[in-house]
Amino acid sequence: MPNDNRNYFISGLRGGLPIGIGYFAVSFTLGIVMQNAGLTAFEGALMSLLNNTSAGEAAGTVIIGNNGSYIELAMSQLIINLRYLLMSAALILHIDKNLSLKHRLLMSLDITDEVFALSITQPHPLSPFFSYGVMCSTIPFWAAGTALGIMFGNILPAAVVKALSVALYAMFVAVVIPPCKKDKKLILVVASSMVLSFAFAKLPYLSKLSEGNRIIILTIILGAIFALAFPHAEEEEK
């Protein structure tokens, strides 16, 4: 690999490392949820290697645990991960416009919230080798954390596993709550989503919906309502 590409790769490895360490903590808690749903360490690691998405994998785990349908599973991934469409589209402005298809196909594998945020802060144009470096220092942590979460879930005392079972959800709370301080609309978004989710889980008829379908339906309906009521005028990511 030419020297320049090697430098980009190393710089990606370095930039990705803090993300990888954070991923390890999140995927460990994801592993605990997977263990509760009956997945093996191999299955968890495979899911994490191939998917690289916490919310998508958590929903997938719930649907697998409830023995849902493949359609429900595919729909849940489509809806929950749809935001990557926006990130992938925004990356177009950051790469060399003549970048080969091969590199575009490979770079797309690891578009996540954190990796995207790092990528768009890089000097223009974003080198694919930077992305490969980031992948090498994030994906292994993500997969290893998942596998370890499942293994530890199997051997730790039941009282500890019980307490650890709230960890992934606590992290989701820590994702949605802090931005509410800056963007007050989000308080309404988060609160109404939780209230309706609770209602859907408890009310007659509605509670017959599986958890996966509830996520899909509420995300489409509430996402559309809020997009119409409060169009979000953010600037093109710089």
């Binding site: 954070g22 509760n36 997945l39 299955e43 899911m47 191939l50 919310a55 929903a59 997938g60 719930v62 697998i64 023995n67 849902g68 493949y70 599973l73 991934q77 489509l78 929950i80 749809l82 935001r83 990557y84 469409l85 926006l86 992938s88 589209a89 925004a90 575009r104 196909l105 797309s108 578009i111 019980k162 307490a163 079972s165 709230v166 960890a167 992934l168 959800y169 606590a170 992290m171 709370v173 820590a174 994702v175 949605v176 802090p178 301080k181 978004v189 989503s193 939780m194 309706l196 989710s197 609770f198 958890e211 509830r214 996520i215 995300t219 996402g223 559309a224 809020f226 997009a227 979000h232």
Partner: protein
Amino acid sequence: MNIIIAIIIMAVVTYIIRVLPLAVFRKPIKNKFIRSFLYYVPYVTLSVMTFPAILNATGNIYLGGVGFIVAICFSLYKGSLPLVALVSCLAAYILEFFI
């Protein structure tokens, strides 16, 4: 449901979403409704996934409830994900000795 098939379906759907704009469309998304929709999606999805699931996560509604409330309070005070998770788990763990 075969778990390996399920994992492959998830991976294929997720990859298609990631690859389409960058490798196929090659155009930024301009539509304001779609951009706004995609901005709100993670907040709605994660909120719906968290509640009420967190209440049932431990098998005891009080442990989950305390974990949930502690997570909200602590994430308002300090944003770091692992720290919020740790404090929330600790609260649930301590409560286990009292119920």
